[in-house]
């Protein structure tokens, strides 16, 4: 009599738990399947293990809630006297071990595959900075920075008064995308220039830390053309939430065309650093460089964020001598978040940003800095 009672209740309880569990899966998001063989393996592994733990959970909770419903004092249930069963305890130690072995086999297989970075057709070096990424295409000689796009950057400021919904891909868009060819095994070499970052694009199926002084490896092979977005995943300071990643996977032909275009731009840049610039050109270019590289800490109006990030201008006047200013920009300031920009930016970028920072908030016309002067002062 009592046995049947427990069985009926157990079935009812299990039905309720299954419905609740199904509901929890139905309303929520699951991991994305991604677009690489590896991400699909991970997705499958995730679903398998989620399935296994869900089944175990349903069984355990069914037993527990059946007991809660049937074996209660208010129903006059007398407590049983047992407190031990070697058989049961051996069983519920051995069965989980077997389940774990079943889980470990595919996990090991996928992991070994993931770690095989050999046979790559191209290499891209990823360097993390506070708070943007740099991509170096080793074979193709292309290299650029990739930072949060201007629209997101404007809207994300506290009290901007603009709705995040008004920006396309708010916080997930960049100025320069990482363009890669599809169906190509790409090896990534990850490192950092300042603190630890972590490069994560969910559609590729992994994240990997970018650590100063070390080079980590990872690889991908994207099977579908498209745009895939991600973010820095390791806390890297105040703008950790604002250094997105955008990967654009294109056909081999489109990629080759893009490389050719980039090379032309590089050639043009080299010329730029040796010619004389006008004040207007410097200010115009400098505004962009300043916003991308400096404004996060020193603020758009140069007022800084005291006391961690000093002001660049007081009452409109630049603080400090030009030469000191340039040296800090080139070498950084040890023990602070100010990193050196030597080698990170072209001479004309530094010259323009300095010109901007020393003129933008002043009513009077201050000094302008030519790209050639940057190289000179740097040596002197």
């Amino acid at each position: 009599m009592k046995r049947t009672n427990e069985l009926i209740v157990a079935l009812a309880v299990m039905a309720v738990i299954v419905v609740v569990t199904w509901g929890l899966f139905a309303v929520g998001d699951n991991m994305s399947e991604g677009v690489t063989p590896f991400s699909k393996d991970v997705y499958q592994l995730h679903n398998q293990i989620l399935g296994i733990v869900t089944i175990i959970g349903v069984l355990v909770f069914t037993a527990m809630f059946t007991s809660i419903i049937v074996h209660r004092k208010s129903r006059g249930h007398e407590p049983a006297k047992f407190s031990h069963s070697t058989k049961a305890e051996i069983l519920w130690t051995a069965i989980p071990v077997l389940i774990l072995v079943v889980m470990a086999i595919p996990s090991t297989r996928v992991l070994i595959d993931m770690e095989s970075t050999g046979g790559a057709e191209m290499n891209i070096k990823i360097t993390g900075y506070q708070w943007l990424w740099k991509y170096d295409y080793i074979e193709d000689g292309v290299s650029f920075y990739s930072a949060l796009d201007r629209d997101s950057n404007r809207v994300r400021q506290i009290g901007s008064g603009e709705a995040p919904e008004s920006v396309d891909n708010y916080l997930l868009n960049v100025d320069n995308r990482l363009v890669v060819p599809v169906n190509t095994k790409i090896r990534f070499l990850l490192t950092s220039d300042d603190v630890i970052h972590s490069w994560w694009v969910p559609a590729l199926g992994w994240k990997r830390d970018a650590i100063p002084g070390m080079i980590n490896e990872a690889w991908t092979l994207i099977e579908e053309e498209g745009t895939y977005r991600g973010q820095c995943a390791e806390l890297c300071g105040k703008d950790h939430g604002f250094m997105p990643i955008v990967v654009e996977a294109v056909s081999r032909e489109a990629y080759d065309a893009w490389v050719a275009e980039q090379r032309q731009a590089i050639a043009a840049t080299a010329q730029e650093s040796s010619r004389l610039w006008t004040r207007a050109e410097l200010m115009d270019h400098g505004a962009g460089v300043y916003e991308a590289q400096c404004a996060a800490c020193h603020q758009a109006d140069g007022s800084g964020l005291q006391p961690a990030f000093p002001a660049l201008a007081m009452n409109g006047e630049p603080t400090g001598q030009l030469e000191d200013h340039l040296r800090v920009v080139l070498d950084g300031r040890e023990g602070t978040a100010m990193t050196g920009f030597r080698g990170r930016l072209e001479p004309q970028d530094i010259a323009a940003a300095l010109t901007y920072a020393r003129n933008a908030w002043s009513d009077e016309e201050g000094e302008i800095i030519q790209p050639s002067m940057v190289a000179e002062l740097d040596q002197g």
Binding site: G28, N30, M31, V42, L45, I49, L50, V53, G57, V60, M64, I68, H71, R72, K73, S74, H77, E78, P79, A80, F82, S83, H84, S85, A88, W92, T93, V97, M103, A104, S107, T108, I158, A163, P164, Y170, D194, V195, W200, G205, W206, K207, R208, I211, P212, G213, M214, N216, Q231, A233, E234, L235, C236, K238, H240, G241, F242, L305, P307, G335
Partner: protein, 537 residues
């Protein structure tokens, strides 16, 4: 027994202080236990307020309330305050109160050191919280203080490190005291395998504390010299290694996780048999499972850092070792369910919290097993999935167990019954909203939202809003907890010595409230008193 003489007993213990001095100079385990518990409750509210700042900022996309720098200070301080200020002192407080009562000892083995262990804590937390008001602000590099980021902060880092040293000293002294008490002060007949499981779990926890708190102290001292004295332990430019810090930190950090859950296992193992009116199922295997978990906690640390780029062999080792933890943990869950099975259950507030613990901790355990799978961890790591996971084990795990313990022993401490109806309201309110708070965070992590970000892409808006609502409602509900405790301390229905019909063990043989001095004459313990032996027949 000995309680008739307790009234004139005080002269054996030096001058009798009153007012504030009574608490400052107390060497009594019950008073110090109370101090720890009150301190922990205050820290729980402060840490909770910080969590609400975080959830308020994350209520909607865009930055509305705080700048990112302060947001990072909040995530860092919230964790430090909750871990070192709320959860750990609460367990020490419960141990102070209950361990001597459970093993029939008159007090802790080292009462003066016990006083010092506690009184270091307010100073440590004054230092820690003071950093919020310093010019460079509180630490903002996460509670893990990973270099090089943590070295970029201001001089407040030195205060944080000194505070951590003080907390470590306090924890180690507390742990020494608990070990000395349990190994030396047990009443005649209280053999190790007759001890209540709460005592067992704390004995093992105390060894973990002594083993790993010095490791943390070493790690943060190296941070200190890197930041202020020109060393390069963790700076690659100077020949150091930033990842070395993570290895050392997590060698402390993983056992630390179990320091915060093993005593919870002990509490739940006391409560479930009481309200099931049945012996704890598989007492011996529970003890062995606890010891196994403690051992395994030392060899799984690198699962917190699978993405730093380890050799394949290391990743496989740490994956397998981590997966193995599921076995002893599973044994515990199965034993609790078997304890309930065919019992005669009632559902007073302590039991409700214990049952909530079993269900929700199990969910946290499942996500923990998923996180052990390295390839999948490459997706979960540093996402909100992890945030959901560790809040399930820490809030609905550790904190629910602490609340269960507080309701369970409150009548013994105060001599009054708490308001059962309000207690049940507190349980249901907390359980509903804590799931609204943390369950959607699994979805956010799987959808790709990184943790520790002050602002997010608009596709994450819905679940963040739900989560924030859950956070605020859960937070408000905890004021009810404070009210219930306050009311119970002030008065209420008189509690009997036994308090709960199915309760067994020495602590229920002394009157309620427990007199200041108990077991001056050791009780004699045999199988009829031992908790796990059936004496209901």
């Amino acid at each position: 027994m000995s309680h008739d003489i307790t009234a004139e007993h005080d002269e054996h213990h030096g001058p009798h202080h009153t007012g504030l001095a009574r608490w400052v100079f107390s060497t009594n385990h019950k008073e110090i236990g109370t101090l720890y518990l009150v301190f922990s409750l205050i820290m729980f509210l402060i840490g909770g307020a910080m969590a609400l700042v975080i959830r308020a900022e994350l209520f909607a996309p865009g930055l509305q309330l705080v700048n990112p720098e302060f947001f990072n200070q909040m995530t860092t301080m919230h964790a430090l305050v909750m871990i070192f200020g709320a959860v750990m002192p609460a367990f020490v407080g419960l141990a102070n109160w209950m361990v001597p009562l459970m093993i029939g000892a008159p007090d802790m083995a080292l009462p003066r050191m016990n006083n010092w262990s506690f009184w270091i804590m307010p100073f440590a937390f004054t230092l820690l919280l003071a950093t919020l008001f310093m010019p460079t602000g509180a630490p903002a590099s996460g509670w893990t203080l990973y270099p090089p980021l943590s070295l970029q902060g201001g001089n407040s880092l030195a205060f944080v490190i000194f505070a951590i040293h003080l907390m470590g000293i306090s924890s180690i002294m507390g742990a020494i005291n608990i070990i000395a008490t349990i190994l030396n002060m047990r009443a005649p007949g209280m053999t190790l395998l007759r001890m209540p499981l709460f005592v067992w779990t704390w004995l093992i926890t105390a060894f973990l504390l002594i083993a790993v708190m010095p490791v943390l102290a070493g790690a943060v001292t190296m941070l200190l010299t890197d930041r202020f004295f020109g060393t390069s332990f963790f700076s690659a430019a100077g020949g150091g290694d930033p990842v070395l810090y993570q290895h050392i930190f997590w060698f402390f950090g993983h056992p630390e996780v179990y320091i915060m859950i093993l005593p919870a296992f002990g509490i739940v193992s006391e409560i479930i048999p009481t309200f099931s009116r049945k012996r704890l199922f598989g007492y011996t295997s529970m003890v062995y499972a606890t010891a196994s978990i403690a051992f395994l906690s030392f060899i799984v640390w690198a699962h917190h850092m699978f993405t730093v780029g380890m050799p394949l062999g290391a990743m496989l080792f740490f994956m397998y070792a981590t997966m193995v933890i599921a076995v002893p943990t599973g044994v515990k869950i199965f034993n609790w369910v078997s304890t309930m099975w065919r019992g005669s259950m009632t559902f007073e507030t302590p039991m409700l919290f214990a049952l909530g613990f079993v269900v929700l901790f199990t969910i946290g355990g499942f996500s923990g097993l998923m996180l052990a799978i390295v390839p999948a961890d490459f997706q979960y790591h540093d996402s909100y999935f992890v945030v959901a996971h560790f809040h399930y084990v820490l809030v609905t795990g550790a904190i629910f167990a602490i609340m269960a313990g507080v309701y369970y022993w409150l009548p013994k401490w105060t001599g009054h019954m708490y308001n059962e109806t309000l207690g049940k309201v507190h349980f249901w309110w907390s359980t509903i909203w804590i799931n609204v708070l943390f369950f959607p965070q699994h979805y956010l992590g799987l959808a790709g939202m990184p943790r520790r970000i002050p602002d997010y892409a608009v596709q994450f808006a819905e679940f963040n809003m739900i989560s924030s609502i859950g956070g605020f409602m859960f937070g408000i509900g905890q004021l009810l907890f404070v009210y219930i405790i306050w009311k119970c301390a002030r008065g209420g229905e008189k509690a009997t010595a036994q308090v709960w019909e199915g309760a067994r063990g020495l602590e229920w043989t002394v009157p309620s409230p427990a007199p200041l001095h108990t077991f001056d004459t050791p009780p004699v313990v045999d199988d009829s008193v031992a908790v796990h032996k059936d004496n209901l027949a």
